[in-house]
Symmetry: C2
Subunit: 145 residues, 2 copies
């Protein structure tokens, strides 16, 4: 297991333990994690704190020159909000844990020139499958449905 | 002047007075402001707190049934991150102060079925024109350039 995807999964598990949506993300620059986060809809009462957004917020203000050398890892396919943030800041590479339980805006990212790799990682799939079965209302709220 | 765009402008002016990027937004449901905010990149050190995102955060967790009856007002054309949030939550109508100083992802929103009206409001244009001339580096950072 890639150590960065492992770190993203640990973020997702932290979110789950807090009673939240189990999606985690890390922003990596030149082999170093500069931002990490997990979905905090429940914990913060915020609809904008998806895992990827929380990782961007944790990294703080970064120059474009840094973003352009980053890879973002996320346990779940990024929705259109998170994909929009990835596109805004010109992150060139996204590594996705899985897109079987939810397909985000991957095609849009690819059309914008972003490299998107999908691992279909069993741990990521299990986290979301269990969560969606247990808390469907929270999940649908999180994706605006 | 529409009272809701006026409220968004007041948010932008508040941001300017705080030394921040002068972009404001309000989220309106059935004629009532349920969330208001302004860009807080400088104030919070956060790259995800564009004006529209701050208004979504201020409104807190809302059911899809509420979002689908909302109008979002923003003093500046929404970037791909903010447009992604608008699309995620199914906001059907966006009223934009101006798109002369920055053209966001309006076409993408329209393709997703969102109604986008642009006012080309002189106060909104003046706020951004002056800001970009005075703090170009901050502005380019805010749009990932």
């Amino acid at each position: 297991m890639d150590k960065f995807m492992q770190a993203a999964i640990e973020e997702a598990q932290k979110g789950l333990a807090e009673g939240g949506v189990p999606i985690g993300s890390v922003l990596v620059h030149n082999g170093k994690i500069i931002g990490r986060g997990h979905n905090r809809r429940v914990q913060s009462g915020s609809p904008i704190l998806h895992g990827e957004m929380d990782a961007f917020a944790d990294a703080g203000r970064q120059p474009a020159s840094v973003y352009k050398e980053c890879v973002i890892y996320t346990t779940l396919s990024p929705c259109c909000m998170c994909s929009g943030a990835i596109e805004l800041y010109g992150i060139p590479h996204v590594i996705v844990g899985e897109n079987q339980t939810f397909m985000g805006a991957e095609e849009r990212l690819r059309m914008a020139g972003v490299k998107v790799d999908v691992l279909q990682d069993p741990t990521c799939i299990e986290l979301m499958t269990t969560f969606i079965a247990e808390k469907p209302e929270l999940w649908f709220e999180d994706i605006g449905e």
